[in-house]
Structures are given as structure tokens and as C-alpha cells.
Subunit: 407 residues, 3 copies
């Protein structure tokens, strides 16, 4: 049913401003495209095919069975790193692995759900939870937070971008002194008399490293100013999350979202063992940053020999939502470290708090986040030192004022 | 797009506890599987291929056109019996036929609707009706009854399980002194912060008989106790339903669901001719049972030469909803004989009535129903005698109290 | 996955009453059919294959990528005319082109959205706008207007027919003195305890002309009388719409739908340049007609050398909704000329205004509209003369009473 066509272009500054111009070879592969009416049912590429001495491979395939029928996946392997991107679900990242360090979690939802089977309006606006299981899903981008009315319109939990199939999906291979791999996708959140927002996402890694970067561009495609919101809803279970695991960050201010979180503020940085019936706690966090306005946070296991670090700009993402949900393993033992344009409260509250940015007509906002997967004590210790350097001895304000007013 | 792969395993106690261990050969065929990322686009098997002297065949194919595009169907023929199962719609059974005896009905909805095109929330929670046309669709399993608020949450009509594609679909062939065929499927009703329920369904028949069995297992996959509800919404039109057809059952107590049904209580056991504008009547029924707590009910045509019988345990399914909807043929001339864990009222009313069971963490509830298709006067008479034997002269309480309070 | 099967029947009065019996050859091609369980993934036919000296071709193909994955399209070329029909979206017509005259517009929604990704209930019943970008989409047919409650039921914007995949799709080629091409489709809007409406649509053209016809039949398939509504929501952007473009019609009465439209009533017949933030204006219009009760309206560009005309019966479609939305190009610079059974207000208001027709059980209503694409001053002038002839000097009543009561 689908024509197998492959577009290969070889050029330097071919893929817009995001892919930095290289002196070496840049090759672009279009895997799926509305513009070209194409969706390759299966596709693969590896370093041997390109006679690249680096060790990597990328393949696209479809998922089958249950509610994941027809979902497209792009799987990247780069040395020991494995990254799984889901174009059909707004370019979410299902999981990242490096040996026994894993970014991801076990949700009660096991299938990678095709948005065709989703209904965001169900459960009083909580339908998003029926498909929630990725390591990294973007909440946004017309709105991103909790469900409820805002200006006469019902907003559903965490917005729509995570359940919109990507319109364009491409892989870019840049070869020179080192090889860089990029999985890129465009996701449109547009409607008549509604949002006119375009998201270009990119996951990239330099082959041979333990790092990767998410780089997004959000554009107002309309003729009027538009608000937007984005929360990088990154979620972690075992092996990073366990009893005694720690959230390590140069916290400038910490606020509870509600009374439930307020009760446990003092232990925000540590994690308990799984406990059936645990009630989720959410904190709004602002970070100290370095002279370039970048900050660094870490989630590390109890022993301090496994961790992930996340670096980003507090200009781009001034807030972080810290979600602690240490319920039973069957119900989800998970924590979210979620840099964002604002907190997870309903947009009406976020607007009142001055945390909803606006894009001018045609304006593009660029956001990037760097992730590292650490698998030894020395690296974890070094990351801790780097975080302390950003803090530079500056303290943490524990702000007891809840983000949501007591009802 | 889909790889055609077939897994054939030959083993005895291979398919969990449900398939009884046989001294003879048991073969399992995986038709669709999330775990193995497989959905065979087409598949078939028959007795000749296996050099089985019995006369049977099973095939899987997809439906096309309209709202049934991409719906998977598994069709079993065993002697004169034909059973059509729909994995894409929660393993519903579209129809069962044996010669000119048919289990099923003519709904205004003619297509077997892909859940991708359904919206259970539409029509104020009546969206389920847009896809309702199977002989047997399960209502459930987080909730099963009428729409409305329960504990601050909007429940839609008859729940979700009938519109969830099966995650695993397999066929099992057991050959020995006789041949048994089983179509099995797993359907997950799971969400984050929501239901954590798994349903394994099975339709099985011994080749050469006029009988088949539905065997379900419902499991609480979460770490906390969970309520569940199930109604086996089996529906009958011509030829069993006609003017003068009869519902024959050892009724212990009969209650009307509302004032409309209350008016016609006296004639609950008989059916009228199709009448445009007929208003549906629903009764809540409890049955007398035998010493093994099993009961038997029958729907038979006027002449008493065609019928279906249904046997089940009143421990597993203490209630039966009797739905009489003898409207015009174009609008649906149909009756439902629906054994259930409770009545069809909203879960809030069912809970108040003590009719909502709870599963402990990890607990599994097993339910089985036996169906026979009868095509001659002698068999129908024998079934009537068996039902009277269960009654053993015990009477019927006509309880005028409506299940739904008058509003 | 889909079998490629093609049914070719050659007969005269083969395709129901709509295709007029011809002395010459009539051939029917079934492209998609629920009844025959078929959906050809790709199909094509052209005049050379049939040794027809006329110049035409028709092909069916699928769209890929984003939210248009799996959408079927039928594209007809007849001389300079190109017509694109979308069976998956209720047989909507995506666009019609003849050289540089185009029927269609640029919506912020660029993809031809698969209804599997639609949720008509979202945005408080405005979800329809997430897929709105066709030249001609039918609003209807159980209801057609603005969202809101009617008799205790929430009606979503413009009904469902535009987001229901066609159950039957066929192409008919009639060859004789001239060649006529017909793309036909059946779309069912049916539910249990709900609508029982069938729509047969047809787009036809005589090869070599600049004209085409839409012919629809709406049937009450139920046993009780049923209301229905239909609005032929035809939408126009460049090149017909521009500053100084004109709506030319024998207007008998014009009413504003609300106060916003009331303010600009005097300039209803002319169009302004694109203006960011422009608020849409809607007018309810009744037309003068000729002795056969047919009327003719035109949209023409400023220079008067490009236009489209639309002719229809005021018995079949007594009202026309004139939608003026001259916003910025990015947000949609578009006007709708929409003949209808009533105005676009909620059905409750339309019923109160006596503008909701009813079909008796089994009754069929036939509606046809003729369209011409004009590309020169002489033809445009001739159309203006024809419209004036219909008017016959009769005046226009400017009725200031808004269709929606001031709230």
C-alpha cells in the first residue's frame, strides 16, 4: 500500500538552521512526509552501508497488535546507546538505554498507543493518561498543564502534541571527524480558528558518546500573537529510581503544587521505596544557573553508580516540575524531572502567575536539552561537582505557597 | 507492511491453565501479539492441513470499506457451526450460525466499526451505540452500565472493553479422541491512575457438536483492590425472535429497571411483533440454579423448533439483564439475554445495591457460559424440561421495585 | 493486506436511478465496498485504456504522513478540469481546478485529516475545525449547524457526515456521443437509537466541459420520521477571493446571523483585503429563482475574468449561508457560499424557525448543484446577465433581525 521510495540528498546546509554546517558529508533521509505523500513502512541504515568506521544503525518499523497497531518507531543505536523515537506519538522518546542504565519507566499502559485510539476528552479531560508511558513526552504546545476551564474552553491534561502524528520525519547523518546522527520530525498543532503552532523536534547524538540532545523549535505560523506552553515530561523508573535515589539540582526555589506536596517538602530530594496507594507529589522548581544561564540536574541511584544528567537553559525553560509518584511497581513507581515554560497547573493559573510565554506572528522559539547516561561512580561524582559549581554556594528557598490555591 | 510470520508451538499444558491438559496434541497459533510485535494480515488453517478427519476451518482476515477498514476478524467453521470473532472490537462475537439458527441481529449499524472511529463520549456518553451490532459484546470491565456520574467521574454507556483491540490473539487446536478449537484473546483495560484490568477471553467448541463455550478470566493487574463489572450483552433477532417467541428461564426474581418496564412486567416472558416506536423494556432477573449453582435459560421461536440455550453459574454471574426492544425491523427488533455481575444501571446505583464486585490485587475471576443452538422440536422440548428441573417447582417473585429510582 | 480486485460490470441502467440510462456503454468500477469487503489500495483508469478519444483519467490513491495516513483520495482529470474527492472524509471535495481558476482555500489545517484522528466533541463541540480545509464539505446530516444543546443532546459543529468514511465508492464511465464521468459514494450516518440516514453522493462531469454537478440523495432508512439538515459548505480563497471580489446573486432576503454580521450588512456583496483579526460575518440568504425554481449565484474576482457559478433549486435548498472570513492569509482568507436546508444556527433555533425538514420512513430527498469554472471576461459577464435575468428586477429585502437572538 505504501510506495517504498527513498530520497537521498547530499548537501551541506541542507536541513535548515538546526543542523550545523559541516565541512564533511551531510546526508538526509526522508522517512515520512506529508509534503511528499510518503511513509516508508520499513527502513534501515547502518554504518557499514556508508563505510563509516563508527558503529551505529537506525531503523524504522511499525508496531502491531492491540492499540499499537500502525504506530511507527525509529530506533537508533550508537555504540552502547539505544534511543527509540515514536513519530506517531508526536516524536516522543519511548526509552533510552546505555547498558543497564535506562531512561524510562514501567507504566500500567504497556502498549505504545496509536493516537487513533486515544480520546483526550475522556475521564473529564484525563484521557491523556490512557497512552502515557514514554520516557519523554512533551506536554503542550497550545497548553500543557492540568485539565480545566480556561477562558471558556476546556483544556485537557497536558495538551495534544504528544498524540499528534509527525507530518515530516527525517534522519540526518553528518560524517566528518566524528559522526552525528539526527532524528528530526515536524509536528503541527493547528486548527481553523485555533492554534497555529509548528514544532520541529530533533534528537541527536555524536556516535561513541554517552550523550544526546533534544533540540526543538516552536513556531507561530499564524498572523496573530499566540501563547504556548511546553513541559518536557521526562519520566524515570528503575534502575535510576529506587529507595534512596536522589534528585540532585542547584535549586533556587521550591514550591509545592498543592497541600499533598507541601506535607513532604523537606524530603523533596530523596525517594522512598514503592508503596501501594502513594499519593503523587508535584513541586515547582526554579534553578540556579551559570554565567551562560545554563543549569544541570541529575537523578542518581542510591549507590551513586548510575545516573542521568540533564542540562538546559533557564532562559528557555525557567521552571522544572518535579513529579514524585513512588507507588507500587504495578501501579507505577516513577518520578518526572520536567523542565518547562511554566508549572503543571491549569493554564489559567499559569497565566495569572506570569508563566505563559507568547510568540509573535512568525516567531520561532528554540529549546535544547542535553542528556548524559552515567554508569560509574566517578562520572556520577563529577556531575555532582558540576552541579555544586553551578550553585556556587547559593541557597535554596523553600516557598510553602502552593501553586494551586487551596480549594 | 506486516511480516507474515507464524509461530507454531506444540506442547501440552502450553496455553495457561485454561486449556485443559490433554494426552493428545495441542497446537498454538499466534495470530496477533503485542509481545511479539505481530499481526498476521491473513491466516487460515483447516482440518485437511492437519490431516484431521474432523471437518473444521479457521481463518483470519481484515474488513475493508467505511468504518470497518482494518478490523480483524477470525472466522471459525466447525461442522455446521460458524462463529465470527472480532479481535479489534474486544474479542466480541459478531454472530454464530448453525444452519438457519442464528445468534445475532440486524442493527441499524451495519459495519463492524473500527474503534479508531468510535467516540464513547459522544451523545452525552451514548457513543457506544454507534458501533453496537454484535451478537455478543461484553459491557465492562471497569464499569458496565448506564452512563452518568459516579464518584465525580463520567461513565459512558457499557464501558470500554468492547472497543479495545485485543493485544494477543491466538488459536489453539487440541486433537485427541475429539478435536477442540479455541480462539483466545487478551484485552487490556489499563490506564495510568486508572483501571489495571486484564481480560483473557476464549471461545471454544468441540468439533461436531452444536455447542460452544465462552470462558473469560478477569485479572486485577494493579497493587490495590479494584472494582469491576461485566455484562454479557448477547443479542437476538430473527429467526429466534419473532412474535410469540419466548424467554424460558427458572426465574427466581424479576424487577423492572424503570417505570416503562414496570408497565409490562406480566408479559416479560413473551415477545410481540415488531412495532415502530416501541420503547425498550429492561428487567433485572435472578435465577434459580441447580446443586452446582448452574442455571440454564433459553430463547425459543414461536413454533418451538429453533432455540438457543445458555448455561452459566449464578456464583459467577448472579444477575441477568433482560432487554426487550421489539421495535421495527429497520430500527432494531432485538432482545438481549445478558448474564452479568449486576444490573445495567449506573455503577453508582449498582454499588449502592451491593452488586459491584471487587478484585484483590493479583486476583483473577473466571467466568464461563455454555451455548447450544437447537434446530428441532425435540431438542427444544428437552431444554425446556431441563430448565423446569432446575426450577424444581420453585416460584417466581415479581418485585415491582424499579432498579432505577423514579426521578 | 488488501486484495487488488476490480469489478467491472457493463450494463445500461446499472447504477440506480441516478445515472441516466444511456444508449451507449456504461461501465461501473467498485473502488471500495463494505458489501464486497473491498478497498482497492490503488486504482487508475484513463481514456486511452478504454480507447476513448476524449481526454480524461481517474485514479485512486492513499495519503501518507501525519494525520492524513491512510486517507483515500479519488482524483479525476477531465480536459483541463481536475476534481479531488476524499472518500475517507464523507466524499468531501478537496479542490477543483481548471487552469488557474481554483475552487478551494488555504486553511491553517494543511493535512487531509483521517477521521480516526478527529474528535468532534473537543473544544466544546468545535472539534470539526481540526479537519476543516476542503473546498466542499457537507455539514449534516442528522444536524448541520452550530454547536449547543438541542432537546437535551449536545450537537457538535456542523454534524458528522464530513468525518465518516464512505461505505461504497464507485466510478461510472458513460460513453456515447460524449463521455460522462461519475464518482459516487455512500456515506451512512447511523446509530442504534439514533440517526438512520443514508447519503449517496455523486460528482459528475461531461468530458470537455468546464462544468460539474454534485447530486446527492438522502434517505431515511428508519421506520420513524426523521429530521435532517444539510449545508453545502463550499469555501473559496484565492484567486476568486481577493479585495474587490464580489458575491453576485439574485438575493431576495438577507439577514445577519448575529450582531457582528449586522454591522456590515451593507457591504455583504463585496470583499475586503486580508486583515489579521478579522471577525467572521455570516448571513442568511434567500434567493429569487426562475420558473423552474432554480437559482444561480456567482463568486467572481475583482477584474471579472475569473469566477465560479453555482446553480441549484430553491425547492431543494431554500437557504444559503454566506460566510465572510477575510482574515490574514495565514489564519484563513476565505468565504463560504453555502446552499442549505436552513441556516447555520443550532438546530434548536432552526427548528423554531421552521427550517428543519423531515423525511418520512423510507423517503429519499434528492439535491443537485451545478458548478462552472469561468476563466474569461465574456463568460463572467454572461453569468452576471443570467443572474439578473433570474432576478427579473425584483428587489432585495435587507432584514436586520438576527438569526441568533442577542444573548
Amino acid at each position: 500500500m505504501k510506495k517504498i521510495v527513498m530520497a537521498i540528498a547530499t548537501a551541506a546546509a541542507l536541513c535548515c538552521g538546526m543542523a550545523s554546517a559541516q565541512s564533511a558529508t551531510t546526508t538526509r533521509y526522508v522517512l515520512s512526509s506529508v509534503a511528499e505523500n510518503r511513509n516508508l513502512p520499513a527502513w534501515s541504515l547502518d554504518s557499514r552501508k556508508l563505510h563509516d568506521p563508527a558503529d551505529w544503525s537506525i531503523r524504522k518499523y511499525a508496531l502491531h497488535g492491540g492499540k499499537q497497531e500502525g504506530v511507527d518507531v525509529v530506533e537508533l543505536r550508537s555504540g552502547a546507546l539505544k534511543i527509540v523515537v515514536v513519530p506517531t506519538r508526536g516524536m516522543s522518546v519511548r526509552s533510552v538505554e546505555r547498558g543497564d542504565v535506562k531512561l524510562g519507566w514501567q507504566s500500567p499502559v504497556q502498549e505504545t498507543v496509536n493516537p487513533a485510539y486515544m480520546n483526550l476528552e475522556s475521564r473529564g479531560g484525563l484521557g491523556w493518561l490512557d497512552g502515557f508511558n514514554e520516557w519523554m513526552v512533551r506536554a503542550g504546545i497550545e497548553w500543557a498543564g492540568h485539565p480545566g476551564m480556561d477562558n471558556g474552553r476546556m483544556l485537557t491534561l497536558h495538551g495534544r502534541i504528544g498524540n499528534i502524528p509527525a507530518s515530516e520525519v527525517e534522519v540526518i547523518v553528518e560524517r566528518g571527524a566524528q559522526t552525528t546522527l539526527r532524528i528530526r520530525g515536524q509536528v503541527d498543532e493547528k486548527s481553523m480558528f485555533g492554534a497555529a503552532l509548528e514544532l520541529w523536534t530533533e534528537v541527536s547524538t555524536v556516535v561513541g558518546t554517552n550523550r544526546f540532545t533534544i533540540t526543538d523549535e516552536i513556531r507561530n505560523a499564524g498572523a496573530l500573537p499566540q501563547e504556548f506552553q511546553i513541559i518536557y515530561h521526562g519520566n524515570y523508573g528503575a534502575p535510576l529510581l529506587e529507595e534512596g535515589a536522589r534528585f540532585v539540582a542547584p535549586v533556587k526555589e521550591l514550591r509545592p503544587i498543592d497541600g499533598e506536596a507541601a506535607k513532604a517538602m523537606d524530603e523533596y530530594a530523596t525517594y522512598r521505596a514503592p508503596a501501594p496507594g502513594f499519593k503523587e507529589q508535584v513541586y515547582g522548581v526554579q534553578m540556579w544557573s551559570d554565567e551562560r544561564h545554563r543549569t544541570l540536574v541529575m537523578l542518581r541511584n542510591r549507590a551513586g553508580d548510575k545516573a542521568m544528567t540533564m542540562g538546559y537553559s533557564v532562559d528557555e525553560l525557567p521552571y522544572l516540575n518535579l513529579w514524585k509518584n513512588t507507588g507500587a511497581a504495578e501501579d507505577a513507581y516513577v518520578t518526572g524531572l520536567e523542565p518547562a515554560t511554566g508549572y503543571a497547573a491549569n493554564r489559567s493559573l499559569e497565566r495569572a502567575g506570569g508563566r505563559v510565554p507568547t510568540l509573535a506572528p512568525g516567531e520561532t522559539r528554540r529549546i535544547s536539552l542535553d542528556f548524559s547516561l552515567l554508569d560509574n561512580t566517578a562520572d556520577v561524582a563529577r556531575a555532582g561537582t558540576a552541579i555544586e559549581a553551578i550553585r556556587s554556594g547559593r541557597g535554596t528557598t523553600m516557598n510553602p505557597e502552593t501553586i494551586k490555591p487551596a480549594s
